[in-house]
Symmetry: D2
Subunit: 337 residues, 4 copies
C-alpha cells in the first residue's frame, strides 16, 4: 500500500503516520517529493489495518497496490480453471452453450426444449425452479417439482443441469438434482448464500450484479473459493446504466478483462442483459467473438406463451439457426463448439 500525504502535511503528521504503520509490524519507505510526501509500505498485505488510517491528520489518500482477491486472480493461478462435468468441460477451447427455458413450466415443455437444444449443440441444460422476481406478483417458479423435471431431462438427454439457488436453506436440496448451482445477479453479494454454495462443493455460476464492478465480481468468487470450492464460473449479464431501451447494458469488454485478471471461465448471458429477443443472436455472436468460454441463452418452444421473460427467449428453430453462426465464429477465434 501507499499512503499519500496532503501537500501541506507537517513533518510531525508524517512521522505519526509512519509510527502508526510500524505499530502494525510493517516497514515503511517514505519518498519526500517536491510537493508531497508518499509513504510506501512493505510487508505482508495488511489492507484492513492500514485502510483504517484514512482519517489521520495529513493523510490524503491510501492506495492499495495488491489486488484484493487472491484465489480468483490469475496471478495466483496462471492456468485456466477447467470445470469438468459428466460429458462436458468448461474453460477449454470448446465454447459451451447453456440453453433452456427461463422457468421450468411443465415436464413436457422442458423435455421438448432439452431434446431440441441438445440436437442443436447445447452442452448444458438450464431451467429455473426458484425465480427471484422484482415484483412479488410475478411467477416465482415451481420449486422442487421443477428440479425433478430437470433431473428427468438430464436422464433422457445426458445434458448436465444448471439451476438457480436463492435460499441458503435450499442449497442441499438443489445439489441433489443440479450439476451447477447458479447464483443470480441480485444475490451476487448475498454473502450468506455465497458461503453456503462454496461449502456445497458443487460448481457455481456467479452472475455479475447489475451495479457490481469487475473487482466486486472477483471478490464474490473469492467468497466461494475460500470455502474450498474452486469451480466457479463468472457470468456477465449486463449492468445498470442510464440507457432504458435495453433492460441492462451488456458489458462485453468484461469478457477479455476477466480473462486477463482471472483464471475462471467466463459465460455471457445476452438475453437478460438486453431483454429483447431480437438482440440475443447478435449479442451471442459478439460474446463468442470477444472470447467468452460460453454463452447462456433462453430457449422456449413457444416464447409468446412463456410464463417468464418470453420477450427475450428464442424459439427452438431460432436457436438452431443461431448455433450455426456461433460455431463458425468460435472457429475464427480459435475455439470450437
Amino acid at each position: 500500500m501507499i499512503i499519500v500525504m496532503r501537500s501541506g502535511a507537517s513533518s510531525e503528521q508524517v512521522e505519526k503516520v509512519i509510527d502508526r504503520v510500524h505499530s502494525f509490524g510493517l516497514r515503511t519507505h517514505p519518498i519526500y517529493g517536491v510537493t508531497k510526501t508518499v509513504i510506501g509500505i512493505i510487508g505482508d498485505d495488511k489492507t484492513r489495518v492500514v485502510e483504517k488510517m484514512r482519517g489521520m491528520p495529513g493523510v490524503e489518500d491510501i492506495i492499495p497496490i495488491l489486488q484484493p482477491y487472491k484465489f480468483a486472480g490469475r496471478e495466483a493461478h496462471p492456468e485456466n480453471t477447467v470445470i469438468e462435468l459428466e460429458g462436458v468441460k468448461i474453460g477449454t477451447d470448446t465454447v459451451v452453450v447453456i440453453a433452456g427455458p427461463c422457468a421450468v413450466e411443465s415436464e413436457e415443455m422442458l423435455l421438448e426444449t432439452a431434446r431440441s437444444v441438445r440436437k442443436s449443440g447445447a452442452g448444458v441444460l438450464r431451467g429455473g425452479a426458484y425465480k427471484p422476481r422484482t415484483s412479488p406478483y410475478s411467477f416465482q417458479g415451481l420449486g422442487e417439482e421443477a428440479l425433478q423435471f430437470l433431473a428427468r431431462a438430464r436422464e433422457e438427454t445426458g445434458l448436465p443441469i444448471i439451476t438457480e439457488v436463492t435460499d441458503p436453506r435450499n442449497v442441499e436440496l438443489v445439489c441433489r438434482y443440479a450439476d451447477i448451482l447458479q447464483v443470480g445477479a441480485r444475490n451476487m453479494q448475498n454473502f450468506v448464500l455465497l458461503t453456503e454454495v462454496g461449502k456445497s462443493g458443487h460448481p457455481v455460476m456467479l452472475k455479475r450484479g447489475p451495479s457490481s464492478t469487475i473487482k466486486d465480481l472477483l471478490l464474490a468468487a473469492e467468497y466461494v473459493i475460500i470455502e474450498g470450492n474452486r469451480d466457479v464460473l463468472l457470468c456477465e449479464r449486463g449492468v445498470t446504466t442510464f440507457e432504458t431501451y435495453t433492460r441492462n447494458t451488456l458489458d462485453l469488454s468484461a469478457v477479455p478483462v476477466l480473462k486477463e485478471l482471472s483464471h475462471l471461465p467466463v459465460i455471457v448471458d445476452p438475453a437478460h442483459a438486453t431483454g429483447r429477443n431480437s438482440l440475443v443472436e447478435p449479442m451471442a455472436l459478439a460474446a463468442v467473438a470477444a472470447g467468452a468460454d460460453g454463452i447462456m441463452v433462453e430457449v422456449h418452444p413457444d416464447p409468446d406463451a412463456a410464463l417468464c421473460d418470453g420477450q427475450q427467449a428464442l424459439a427452438l428453430d431460432e436457436f438452431e439457426r443461431m448455433m450455426g453462426k456461433v460455431k463458425a465464429i468460435a472457429e475464427i477465434v480459435g475455439r470450437n463448439l
Copy 2:
C-alpha cells in the same frame, strides 16, 4: 395497460392482439390514430399476462398505467404509516435519529456510545452484529455476542435497537434481541430474506440497493408487506454512479419522491452514501431539510480505531454538535427532534 402498435402494423395484427387480450377476460378500447393504433385495456390489473404479449407481431410497446406496487403506495394508504416502538414513534412530526457504531466491537464501546448518543438526542441505537462485506477478508461482525451487548445497552439506556439481519435462518434469533430488523442494500432484492422478515412481524428498515430504482425499492417493501407486516421503513443510502470521489451518490431527491409515492417513513444514511466523515454533517442536515423522517449516523468513541468504516464515523462530540443543527433545521421544516 396500453398496447402501442407499430406504425406499419396491419389491421390483422391489431385484431389478433385484441383477441389475445379478450382471451384473458379483459376488455379493450382501441384508438385508431393518424399514424398509430393504441389499444387501451380495461379490467383488473393483469400486468403479468399482458406483459407476455410483447413479442407479438406488430406490437411496439406495452405501457403499464397502474403502479406495480399496491400496499406500499400512497394511493392505497393515503395517511403516513407511523411505527411505534417503546419510547419512540417513527413517521410523525418528530425526526428520529438512529445512531451508534457501524459494528459492535465490545460491550464497553457500545455502552459508551449508547449513553452518549442518547444524551445528545438520538432516538434509536444502531450496531452491526452481522456485517456483509464486499471482501471476505474484512471484519464480519461478532454475531450473537453483539446482539447480547445491544440488548444490555437497550436495558441501560432505554433506546430501542436496530441491527442488520443477513441470513433467513437468523431472523428468529435476531428478533429475540432487536426492535427493528435492518435489511442491507445488497440484500434489498434477496427475496427469500424479505419474505422471512415480513413473516417476523418486527418492523423492518429496508435500505435501497445501490442500483435499485425508487420503484424497485417500493416493490421490495411490497414483498415485506404482503406477508402481513406493514411496519416498513425505507432508507436512502446512496446509489451507484460514475462518480468515484464519494463511495456512492446520495440521492436526496428520493426523499420527497418517496414521501409523495408512499406512506412509509423515509430515513437517510449519509455516512454509507458518501464514505467520508467530513460529508456526514452537511448531508445529514440536507436530509432533514429535504423532509426525511429520520437519519441514521455512525458514531464511534474513537473513529480512528474502528474495526469497520471508521473513516465515515463521527466522534461522540462531533455527533453532539451536529444534533444542535439537526434540531434547528427540523423546526424550520415544521418538525421537531
Copy 3:
C-alpha cells in the same frame, strides 16, 4: 400522446385537460378505466404543446407514442442510407474499417501509418488535427498543419479522410481538407456545431455522448439532417458507467438497436470505449459480429511514443493481424471487407 390521469382525479379535472387539448386543435379519445382515466390524443404530433400540460391538476403522466425524431428513424426511411465517398461506400454489405493515429503528429508518421493500414485493408484514414482534451494541459493537436498532412496522405493512398471538428468557426476550413467530419462524443449535444456541420453538406460521423441514450443520439442526428444533410454516420464509443477498469463501457447492444431504429450506418470505436490496447481486437471482432457497418481503430507506428492515447493504439502489425479475423467474421454475418 396519451395523458394518464391520477386515480383520484375528479371528472372536472378530466374535463379541463380535455378542453386544453382541444384548444390546441387536437382531438381526444378518453378511456374511462376501472381505476384510472386515460386520454388518447389524435392529430398531428404536437409533443411540445401537450408536454406543457404536465403541471395540470390531476395529470399523472404524459406518454409520447411517436418517436421524437423523424428523419433519423427507419419508419420514415426504411432502406439503409448509403454514404458514397470516392472509392468507398458506407452502409452496404461491406464493413468499412477506419484507421489511423489518434492525433496527427507529423507528416512522416501519418504517411507511414496510411500506407500500412491501406495495405491491411482499411477503407478510410482517420487522424486528429483538433483534439478536445479533458485537461487543458494535454496535447491539443497540430491544427491546420495536420489537415494538410491528411490531404497529402489521401493524395498518396487514395484513402478518404475523417477528422474531428470542434469549433463552428472551423467547419469551412476542415471541409476544405476532410471527406467526413467527425463530431466528438463531448460535442454530441453541441447543437451550434451540429447545425453548422449539417449546413456544410459533408458527411458527418456523430459519436455518441458518454451519457447520451440511443434516443439522444438519434435526436442529435436529427439536428444535422434537418439542415438538409442526410449523410450521417452514428458511432458507438462507450458510455459512462460505474465500472472503472475500462475508461467507458462499450454498449455493443446499441449496434443492433440502432440498426432497428434507424437507417443510418453504425460504426464502433472499441479503443476510446475501453482505453486499453489489449481490448481493442476482441471488441472490434465483437462489433462486427454484432452487425456494425464499420469499426474505427487507432493505429500508430510506435504506440509507446504516441502523443495522445498511446495505451489504446494498435501497432501496424497488430492491426494487420486483426484485419484477417475481422474479414472472416464479416463473412460469417453475411458481410465482406
Copy 4:
C-alpha cells in the same frame, strides 16, 4: 506519480522503466516490496509524458499523486474566491439566489418576474436567450431580443443578469448585455467555448455535465481560468443515473466536496436536476443546508403556460414562500440571505 510494476515484472523491465523516466529529466525512487516493485517519481509534474509509459512491458498501473488541476484547486488558493458584481457578492457568507424564467418569452413576463423575485430576495436575475434543446423541434429561445429584455429588466430592478451562451461566436454579443455568462451542462466539455468565455473576462457559471465527475468539472474550470479569468462559479445540476423518476439525480454531496477541493463558489440548480416542480423547494432547502453558496431557481408568472420546462418552474408566490425557509436555513448554517 507512482508507477506500479506487475508482480512478475523482471528486473530488466524495472530498469527499462526507470531509464525511460530518467530520459524525461525526472528522478526516481524505487521501492522493492515483497510482491511488487513500485517506482516513485520526483520532479516537476510531467503527467503527460509519464502517462504514455502505460504500455511498457511490466507496467501494471500509473498512479497520479498530484491533482490534475492547478488553479481551480484549494491547494493553490486556500481562500474562497469572491465574485463581485454591482450590488451582489458571490462566495461570501451571503447565500445568493438566482431566479427567473427558464426562457425569456416576452418583455412583460420577464419584467413581472424580475420585480417579483427581487422583492422576494433574489440577488441575480436569470433568463434564457439561447436554449440548447435535446430535440431540434423544441423552442430554441428568442436570441438577442431576449438579451435586450434582460438588460431592461436589470435597469429597472438593479439585479445583475446571468444568461447562457452556447456559441463561441456569440460570446462578445452576450457580454454586452450579461453580467455572468452561463455555460450549460451539455457544453461543459466544449473546450472551444470554455476558452472563449475565459478570454471574455466576464464571470462564468459552469454547469456540471451530466456524466462529468467532480474532477472533470474542476478541469473544465481550469480551461476558463488559464485564460486569465478566475471568476468561475461551479453549478451542480444533477448527474445521469439509472433512476428515471427524476430527470437527473442531484448530487448534493458534490457541494461540500467542491468546497473542500476548490475555492470557487458553488451554486445548486434543483429544478433541472429533478425536472419536477414539487421537488424544487425540498432540494433548494437541502442545498443550502449542505453549504451551497447559492441556488438557482426557475420562476415563471404562469408555469402552466411556459414555453420551456414549465413543469419544473415555481410560480411567483411559491418562490416567495420558499425564500422564507431558505433564509431560515441559511442562518442555521451560519449564513444569511
